[in-house]
């Protein structure tokens, strides 16, 4: 089965509200990265975490290797936050496994 389970697959938010995306891992991962897809389809790195939490503006991410999950929290969502977000887990050995993505739609 998939090593990385990302949820939800789609999320709708009103401007100013917040929510969380989550990735569960079937095995112990040594790090996690979160990305956002840009307009051309490439991926922009949001966070790299080997443990703990990181925050950048209205985004905050957490990674618990022992409990095998990571989260990406979005607060005070803005229209420009709409897009597709991915987590990717680093199992070591230069291999990164991606989740299937979350399509976020922020509406007025």
């Amino acid at each position: 089965g998939d090593q990385v389970e990302q949820s939800p697959s789609a999320l709708s938010l009103h401007e100013g509200t917040g929510s969380a995306l989550r990735c569960n891992f079937t095995t112990t991962m040594r790090a996690v990265q979160w990305f956002r897809k840009n307009s051309r389809g490439s991926l922009i790195n949001l966070f790299y975490l080997a443990s703990g939490t990181k925050e950048n503006g209205r985004l905050k991410s957490a990674f618990d290797s022992k409990e095998r999950y990571s989260t990406l929290h979005i607060r005070d969502a803005q229209l420009e936050d709409s897009g597709t977000y991915f987590c990717a887990a680093d199992s070591g050995y230069n291999k990164l496994t991606f989740g299937k993505g979350t399509v976020l739609l922020v509406s007025p």
Partner: protein
């Protein structure tokens, strides 16, 4: 600052024809390099990685090959394209194995 450049931006190729996609990284010596592929509607999959010139490790078998002829260059190729090769190809690099992954702008391949 480091930059990553992928070429071409898009390709339309016939089944059975050869393919060569390229990627160069400037501003960083000895980067770890990666090729990823995403079929339409599919999950991004890692295809290859290389930690040094001349060394390439395969992660997923897709009848593709990769080479690293120079420290800053990573090439993805095949002699005979299949319909199933269609998709979006991304090159990426990291400073080291446990580091942030930076992607190129990608190549969209359509095999007809």
């Amino acid at each position: 600052a480091q930059t990553i450049h992928q070429w071409p931006v898009a390709e339309i190729k016939a089944v059975g024809s050869p393919l060569s996609l390229g990627c160069t990284i400037k501003g960083k010596s000895s980067p770890n390099l990666y090729w990823y592929w995403q079929a339409t509607g599919g999950t991004l999959q890692q295809l290859f990685y290389s930690i040094t010139v001349g060394q390439v490790e395969s992660v997923v078998q897709l009848n593709l090959s990769a080479s690293r002829p120079k420290d800053d260059q990573f090439i993805l190729s095949t002699e005979k394209l299949l319909l199933s090769h269609s998709g979006f190809y991304l090159c990426a690099w990291t400073r080291d194995s446990a580091e942030t992954l930076y992607f190129g702008s990608g190549t969209r391949l359509t095999v007809l």
